[in-house]
């Protein structure tokens, strides 16, 4: 009996001293950031790479000594792609975990639900969703930021390129989801600025199997180009139909086209399809002088080594959100107001995966059409257009 308790004593001392050593290594208290991500539910294709990115960055930062000696702790909550659940999780993060800032949520709807909560809690939110209303109007979005590019920037990139090609009449075809409707609105409202006329405007459902009819209408409308705005299988079916119809006019896709999987699925039909893409998917085609190249290369390669899959644009949004906060924490420490001010005033010429960010009082996203490269599919691979 006595020997047993003696042994116990020795073991406890050993364990305790190991613990103390660990604590000594990170003597300072951790910086806590919340992450609200749609890990499950219909938007899980967004939340999954975002979660993976958050876990990877947390490990990388803590392995290299944390933020000024403070370990970074990212508390991930699954929002299940649902607004109510996002709000409840946000309250938990703010009240129980006392986080300094929150990244996410993954979708525009969830982000909008959090706007009043974050403004009341006076805590910065860096959303990973694209919708323009998340950060506009800027004076009502004091604590809110976002990292994905605006839809309107993608439209401007397309129209800008078309103008150079001498195209002025376009037919648009959009999917009947939030993404497609937002794209359609942007396409219509920006058209006059670039002297574009929309001569045909078609729609299809997310589970439709054939868009030949819609494309035939665009063909006879006299359009000089087709623009398809969708994510998911629809963009591949449109591409295949466009190819089968031999339409004789170029097909442009939205920034949702940026996955190698789409080229694989569409096969030779994808040849010649043009799209505005973030530089993340074409990092290996960029010149070495590009300020984004080094970080894109490191992020993509690290991610692929760890998870055996493409990070995609969405993982990149989480990367940008987290790294901005880490940057702010490094410079101003754990003060919510100072973090916010730093984000608004000091994120200038800041290279991220989504582009070169330039935040300002009136723009809490900081990206414009220059965040995109016009990319054409050539021999089954991306190729940059000049």
């Amino acid at each position: 009996m006595k020997r047993a308790s003696g042994k116990f004593f020795v073991v406890s001392v050993a364990v305790l001293s190991v613990c103390l050593l660990c604590v000594n290594a990170f003597a300072k208290e951790p910086y806590k950031i919340g992450a609200l991500l749609a890990v499950t539910g219909p938007a899980s294709f967004l939340g999954e790479p975002e979660k993976n990115t958050a876990l990877m960055l947390q490990d990388q930062i803590n392995k290299t000594g944390g933020i000024n000696g403070h370990p970074l702790e990212i508390i991930i909550e699954d929002t299940k792609s649902d607004e109510t659940s996002a709000v409840l999780s946000a309250k938990k993060l703010l009240e129980n975990d006392k986080v300094l800032a929150i990244i996410g949520p993954s979708t525009t709807g969830e982000s909008m639900a959090l706007v009043p909560i974050m403004n009341n809690a006076k805590t910065p939110l860096v959303s990973c969703a694209a919708g323009a209303p998340i950060t506009q109007p800027a004076n009502e979005r004091y604590w809110i930021f976002k990292t994905p590019q605006y839809d309107t920037s993608a439209v401007e990139a397309i129209y800008g390129y078309m103008k150079k090609q001498g195209i002025s009449k376009v037919g648009i075809i959009t999917i009947s989801t939030g993404f497609g409707d937002a794209g359609k609105k942007a396409l219509q409202s920006i058209a006059p600025k670039y002297g574009m006329t929309i001569v045909a405007e078609e729609k299809y459902g997310p589970k439709d199997s054939d868009m030949t009819t819609q494309l035939t209408k665009i063909k006879v409308s006299g359009a000089q180009a087709v623009i398809n705005w969708s994510v998911g299988p629809g963009q591949v079916i449109v591409t295949k139909n466009w190819y089968a119809l031999r339409m004789g006019i170029p097909l442009y896709q939205s920034h949702g086209w940026g996955s190698k999987k789409n080229i694989e699925l569409a096969g030779k039909a994808a040849e010649g399809v043009i799209a505005p893409l973030g530089r993340l998917v074409v990092w290996d085609k960029l010149s070495d002088k590009n300020p984004q190249k080094a970080l894109l290369k490191k992020y993509t390669q690290d991610y692929e080594a760890r998870y055996k899959s493409e990070p995609g644009t969405f993982g990149g949004h989480a990367y940008d959100s987290i790294m901005m906060l880490v940057d702010a924490l490094k410079k101003v420490g754990p003060d919510k107001k100072k973090i916010r001010d730093y984000m608004e005033t000091k994120i200038k010429n800041w290279p991220g995966t989504g582009g070169i960010f330039n935040m300002s009082k009136n723009d809490h996203c900081g990206l414009d059409k220059n965040a995109f490269e016009m990319v054409v599919v050539k021999n089954g691979d991306w190729s940059l257009l000049k």
Binding site: E202, G205, S209, D210, Q214, T216, P233, I237, L245, L265
Partner: protein
């Protein structure tokens, strides 16, 4: 103008062919059991995804893949009947229909876990230039879809009219007790009807996937459209199902073409409602037959 019209027509016929096959699938189980099997859409998905698995992933020859896909779909239909329908032989019909919804959810879950959420595709059955009919361009695969549907319709017609087994299945539908008395194994016929409907659905899935791609959750949409087609033609009538399927497909395409693509689903459903108001039994089912129905 003719060119454009033909283009719309062929697009509608291609999509309608699959609706027709799904509608026939509904009829086969309905005729033998009075059950509306709402997992019918999942059979189409199984057809497309398993064909991809055998031909693209395992790289088996075309005809071997087709045979294996049909066998797999048949086994799924068989298991479904033996595990969920048979144990509840005398249960309420509505309950049975709810069980088929449960089965469809389970099947979708299994498909999602094994294939993931991405769409799949394999090359068309014959490679080559699309066919040009008066300026309208038709993909070769679209002709395959329409042709295969036609072939299935003829084979099923002969099966039900000319073979003993087909006639026995029809007998079960008309009066299970009497069928039993003359020595027909009713339970076996019910099982066979599920197998057959699964195979018909899977054939549709195999044919359409090169055109429309296939992903795990395409089933419910196909089931709804196929069900509309079956109702439009009159539940239980295969002639009606075929006509209903093509009619809905063409109506959708024409609405998208001549009115607006945003309203195509709505117009097809409005016409379905009109038909049901004017002729509640559907286009090809008489009033007396309607009275004999249990559901």
């Amino acid at each position: 103008m003719l060119t454009v019209f033909l283009q719309f027509l062929f697009s509608g016929l291609t999509v309608g062919a699959v609706y027709a096959l799904v509608a026939i699938g509904f009829n086969i189980t309905y005729n033998a059991t009075s059950i509306i099997n709402l997992a019918q859409g999942e059979f189409v998905v199984i057809g497309g995804l398993m064909m991809w698995f055998f031909s693209e992933s395992l790289k088996l020859p075309f005809f071997v893949s087709v045979a294996l896909t049909i066998i797999t779909a048949g086994i799924v239909g068989l298991l479904m009947e033996r595990l969920t329908i048979k144990p509840l032989k005398n249960a309420d019909l509505l309950l049975m229909i709810m069980i088929t919804i449960a089965v469809s959810i389970v099947l979708r879950g299994i498909l999602m876990l094994s294939f993931g959420k991405e769409p799949y595709v394999y090359p068309a059955f014959t490679e080559g230039e699309p066919v040009n009919v008066y300026g309208a361009i038709i993909q070769q695969q679209a002709l395959w879809v329409i042709g295969i549907t036609g072939f299935c319709i003829v084979v099923l017609f002969l099966f039900f009219k000319k073979t003993m087994m087909g006639k026995a299945m029809l007998a079960c539908a008309v009066n299970p007790t009497a069928a039993k008395l003359v020595g027909i194994n009713v339970s076996q016929m019910v099982m066979f009807s599920f197998v057959l409907s699964a195979i018909v659905g899977a054939i549709g899935g195999m044919a359409i996937t090169p055109i429309s791609l296939m992903e795990y959750d395409k089933g419910p949409m196909l089931a709804v459209k196929g069900f509309c087609a079956a109702i439009m033609g009159g539940l239980g009538s295969n002639r009606g199902a075929v006509l209903g399927g093509f009619l809905i497909g063409v109506l959708e395409s024409m609405t998208a073409g001549y009115i607006h693509s945003g309203s195509k689903d709505a117009v097809a459903l409005v016409i379905l409602l009109l038909i049901l108001f004017l002729k509640p039994s559907g286009l090809f089912v008489s009033k007396t037959m309607l009275q004999l129905r249990k559901f």
